[in-house]
């Protein structure tokens, strides 16, 4: 693939695998630190700052702690599946990254090495497949623990992931339609080619993807499966030491992978904006930068510093989304379970379907009147998409489909409500008490 000799291909692939894996693990460790520091910042605390300068060695200390802690195995658990659970959780989370391109190709004396671990021809579908396998670890872990809370957490997790996978997949389809293929390298190239990152022409798709990605990673406000105020910590209640750690690593690896995906699918991946010098795509046996007006390919000029710069851009974009993840977690309250399901099936799914039709129709019209794939094309789509986004936002903001926790929001109290200092908690009519509490 990519015109490398088999030997070079094997060696470079091995190097890439090791490098990506190590970087990912380190990134996971430091994301946990970032989470704690950012949360402290949001809550006006200090956060961990004792181990090393600015607490930078904290993740290492945590790792050692997790290794040294006692490994517990509940007596009533189903042993095999209890052990299998964390393993099944961590593997999909780690291998998903393999299809994400993280920089412009690197020219070497032995050929040009694409900066992606495996450019499989089914790119996005591979991600979908693996993310759908991620449920098993959580469900098995929760079930094998033989604990009510764990089991409830596991059931919630699987229901939630299955529900939101639909919306996630449908919002991805808009990207695929605009790209015309499913490989992530081509997704990046088409964004360079279009001159616009897909976040603009597919704005609503981006919003839907972000919401679904939050639900898929079981992060707040969708952390039903481990809702600590109701389920202790959900599916990993019974886990300790490294097995707990594996669930933890899986969650953060998921966060990073999803952030990288958002960056790749909607923010141009490793593309540096307003500069075409970094564009590169493997097309019919050669690396091209794009097409000239006549449609003939223009060869790309590659350089090691371009690879480094684009890698920087990619890391920057990914970190941005990781920060958003953390920010959201420490800002928003948790949904109720029925709200999660309502949002998934009654809002996300129909919206994604309608949006898919909208984008497909627009693309069809644009192709029929032969608008060339370029800036104009993207801008027309942007306008259409923005209209969709505005409509969606206004529609969602009606407090009807997702009802508030108190009935007062849906049925406003009369103005002349007698003020009651202590709500009357009568046994016969609890709803009255709730209304009173909500009214105050």
């Amino acid at each position: 693939m990519s015109g490398l000799s088999p030997g070079v291909f094997l060696v470079t692939s091995a190097v890439k695998v090791v490098a990506v894996f190590s970087v990912l693990m380190v990134a996971v460790a430091y994301t946990t630190l970032a989470e704690r520091r950012v949360s402290a910042w949001i809550q006006d605390r200090m956060g961990p700052n004792r181990v090393g300068p600015f607490g930078l060695l904290q993740p290492i200390a945590d790792g050692i702690k997790n290794f040294l802690k006692e490994e517990t195995l509940p007596g009533t658990s189903t042993k095999l599946f209890f052990v299998l659970g964390p393993m099944l959780a961590i593997v999909p989370a780690l291998v998903t990254f393999a299809v994400v391109p993280f920089a412009a190709p690197l020219p070497t004396p032995w050929g040009t090495v694409p900066m992606i671990v495996a450019d499989v021809p089914i790119g996005i579908l591979y991600i979908m497949a693996l993310s759908s396998l991620g449920v098993y670890g959580i469900v098995l872990g929760g079930w094998a623990s033989n604990n009510k809370y764990s089991f409830l957490g596991a059931l919630r997790a699987s229901a939630q992931m299955v529900s939101y996978e639909v919306a996630l997949g449908l919002s991805l389809v808009t990207v695929l339609m605009l790209t015309g293929n499913v490989t992530l390298t081509q997704v990046v190239f088409e964004q360079q080619h279009l001159g616009l990152w897909f976040v603009l022409p597919l704005s609503l798709g981006f919003i839907l993807f972000v919401i679904s990605a939050f639900a898929e990673t079981n992060r707040l406000p969708f952390d039903m499966p481990e809702a600590e105020s109701e389920l202790v910590t959900g599916y990993h209640t019974e886990y300790s030491s490294m097995k707990f750690s594996m669930f933890f690593i899986a969650e953060y690896a998921h966060v990073i992978t999803q952030s990288a995906l958002m960056a790749t699918l909607f923010l141009g991946g490793w593309d540096i904006p307003f500069w075409h010098g970094d564009d590169a795509f493997y097309f019919q046996g050669q690396w091209i930068q794009g097409f000239d007006a006549a449609g003939t390919p223009v060869l790309a000029t590659l350089a090691w510093w371009k690879t480094l710069l684009t890698l920087g851009a990619f890391v920057l974009k990914t970190s941005l989304f990781v920060l958003v993840y953390i920010w959201v977690r420490w800002t928003l309250p948790r949904f109720r379970y029925d709200q999660v399901m309502q949002l998934g099936w009654k809002i996300m799914l129909p919206t994604a379907l309608a949006y898919l039709m909208l984008i497909a129709g627009t693309i069809l019209v644009l192709d029929e009147i032969s608008v060339p794939f370029g800036l104009t094309y993207g801008l027309i789509l942007t306008v259409v998409s923005m209209i969709g986004t505005v409509v969606f936002t206004f529609w969602l903001d009606r407090d009807r489909v997702i009802s508030g926790a108190s009935p007062s929001a849906r049925w406003p109290l009369p103005q002349s409500m007698p003020s009651v200092d202590v709500p009357q908690l009568s046994e016969t009519d609890p709803s009255q008490a709730a209304v009173g509490a909500g009214g105050n």
Binding site: L84, V139, L140
Partner: protein, 170 residues
């Protein structure tokens, strides 16, 4: 290399299939089933049918089997199902029939093992021209569009039927 991988996947698929039947608990059977389906996906990859492999994993391993797991976990809590699995004359009979069919088909295929596949468009050429998805999407939306649309109707009917029967209020 490809040959070795094929035998590995084939062995895993067969082992998984046997595990489904022999598994002690339903959950174990289900995981063996996932293994079996995953191995079949692996074989698809070896055949350059990447799209099929991905769909196999997404649909079967990722969606259907998760629902099965759901059902097993919800229904099988504390229920001893072993008395339900009656052995005896019937199972012997079914084994005999299945064995006979297997033997017959095996003999037929063994007799034709030198049969060369019919010439058709090579998968590689199609993938090169249309991409991994286009190679399968094209016939699906042109030649096979009628069955494809009927499948849509079928799913709609199944959903309506399931909802009617599962609705809580009657």
């Amino acid at each position: 290399m490809i040959d070795i991988l094929f035998y590995v996947f084939a062995a895993l698929a067969l082992g998984g299939a046997m595990g489904v039947v022999a598994g002690r608990s339903p959950v174990a059977s289900l995981l063996f089933m996932v293994l079996c389906l995953g191995s079949v996906a692996g074989i698809y990859v070896l055949l350059e049918a990447h799209f099929l492999a991905a769909v196999q994993v997404i649909v079967y391993a990722g969606a259907i089997m998760v629902l099965f797991l759901f059902v097993i976990m919800l229904l099988n809590l504390g229920h001893n199902y072993h008395p339900d699995l009656k052995a005896g004359l019937w199972s012997a009979l079914s084994f005999a029939v299945a064995g006979a069919l297997f033997g017959f088909l095996g003999r037929q295929l063994w007799g034709n093992r030198t049969m060369t596949p019919e010439a058709g468009d090579s998968v590689d050429a199609l993938v090169a021209q249309y991409g991994a998805v286009g190679a399968i999407a094209r016939p699906l939306y042109t030649e096979w569009v009628v069955p494809f649309e009927i499948t849509g109707i079928l799913l709609l009917v199944a959903i309506v039927g399931a909802l009617v029967l599962a609705k809580q209020r009657v």
